[in-house]
């Protein structure tokens, strides 16, 4: 262990009579072993922030006239934007799979008298919903409806 955790991590509210060495972080945190998946999961938040800014820019362009909007569409065809959206898509799939894997066990044994369905049913519902929403969005964006 080489790096310090928060100096008050797991400290008692009143200091004891013995001097203690400060708490240390686990060796592998944040990029080693299993921590890597967790850290990457959290880091995807940066991508969502950038995606949000990108959407805001697109909306701004939409309200700034046809020429600006066409310019924005042109920019979105660039290698940079395509690459960024590719990475964002990979991040979304990673986050979705990780979230879905943990979701079933986060359900209490019962809420009132209602018990959650078995894990395979929950997973099937989650993935079914994901595929359904993705299919609908694809159809809408491809001009299939509306």
């Amino acid at each position: 262990m080489s790096r310090s955790a928060h100096p008050r991590a797991m400290a008692a509210s009143k200091p004891g009579s013995t001097r203690t060495a400060p708490p240390q972080l686990p060796d592998r945190f944040p990029f080693g072993g299993r921590y890597l998946a967790y850290t990457l999961f959290d880091l995807t938040g940066i991508l969502y922030l950038l995606l949000g800014l990108s959407v805001l820019c697109a909306v701004w362009s939409l309200g700034s006239g046809e020429a600006v909007w066409n310019g924005a569409l042109e920019r979105h065809r660039s290698i940079f934007y395509l690459g960024f959206h590719g990475i964002a898509l990979a991040a979304l799939i990673f986050v979705g799979i990780r979230f879905f894997a943990f979701f079933p066990k986060a359900q209490p044994p019962r809420v009132g008298r209602v018990k959650p369905p078995p894990k395979p049913v929950i997973l099937a519902a989650l993935y079914g919903l994901w595929i359904g929403v993705t299919a609908c969005m694809t159809i809408v964006l491809a001009g299939g409806i509306f």
Binding site: M10, A11, A21, P23, L25, P26, G32, Y38
Partner: protein
């Protein structure tokens, strides 16, 4: 060297609060037997090589939860870890995320405070009279919380949790799991009290579901499941307070 023995190097973190400014590492050559656990080697060091080494242990059968330490960077019960699975060098350090009292001994006072804050005992609105007999519980009711009652308070989950490392007020996995265990108990009537605790600062909502607590739990308690189930229960209880008479206590 006799059959079934080989030498391993143990790199042990040492800290003497009277002499050391910061922890240091010390190496020991130990002739280990093939059936030894990590704890056996530490006891050998203590008994035969260096009597000044301090470490906690008691039951030697993964029940008491005393001998939790970092073994090659992972929080482990040293009495449960077979040495055969490790290479020629084994690093042993005190549990991460805890203040160190001496060598491999960490301060558990903070953990005990967090544990009591979730009221891990059966709360009854009115105590049952002896004449009424024992409270009955069906196997199905027992099954709802049994997994979470297997916790032995070894604190390995705290040592693995990245939130514990960075947020001192976080009650942490084991304490929340035990509180949740009592809230799920059909004999208990204190879920609302605990949910009020769980909705406070540094409680269930500080958990970012790293799942490390469940990965390192030696008793398969799955504290991450308990914490995240407690989140949902705390929210339902809070929301019920708006729509049900007398809040969500019924």
């Amino acid at each position: 060297m006799s059959d079934g023995q080989q030498n391993k190097t143990f790199v042990v973190t040492r800290f003497d609060p009277d002499r050391d400014e910061v922890p240091r590492k010390q190496s020991y050559e130990v002739p280990v037997r093939s059936d030894w656990k990590v704890l056996d080697a530490l006891n050998f060091i203590k008994d035969e090589i260096d009597a000044t080494l301090s470490h906690r242990w008691s039951c030697r059968m993964a029940v008491c939860g005393s001998c939790g330490m970092m073994v090659n960077g992972e929080p482990r019960l040293t009495c449960k870890e077979a040495l055969a699975q490790y290479g020629d060098t084994v690093e042993v350090a005190p549990l991460a995320n805890f203040p160190v009292v001496r060598d491999l001994v960490v301060e558990a006072d903070g953990f005990m405070e967090k544990l009591t804050s979730v009221k891990p005992w059966i709360i009854r609105a009115k105590e049952r009279a002896v004449e009424e007999g024992t409270m009955r519980q069906s196997p199905a009711e027992l099954e709802e919380f049994k997994q979470f009652s297997m916790c032995i308070n070894c604190m390995l989950c705290y040592s693995a949790c990245p939130v514990v490392a960075n947020e001192p007020k976080f009650i942490g996995p084991a304490a929340i799991a035990l509180g949740h265990r009592y809230s799920l108990d059909s004999r208990d009537e204190g879920a609302a009290e605990r949910n009020a605790v769980f909705r406070g600062e540094g409680t269930v909502f500080s958990c970012s579901f790293a799942n490390e607590c469940s990965e390192v739990c030696p008793k398969n308690v799955d504290p991450a499941a308990a914490v995240n189930q407690a989140k949902l229960n705390a929210v339902i209880d809070w929301a019920a307070g708006f729509v049900l008479p007398r809040g969500g206590d019924e």
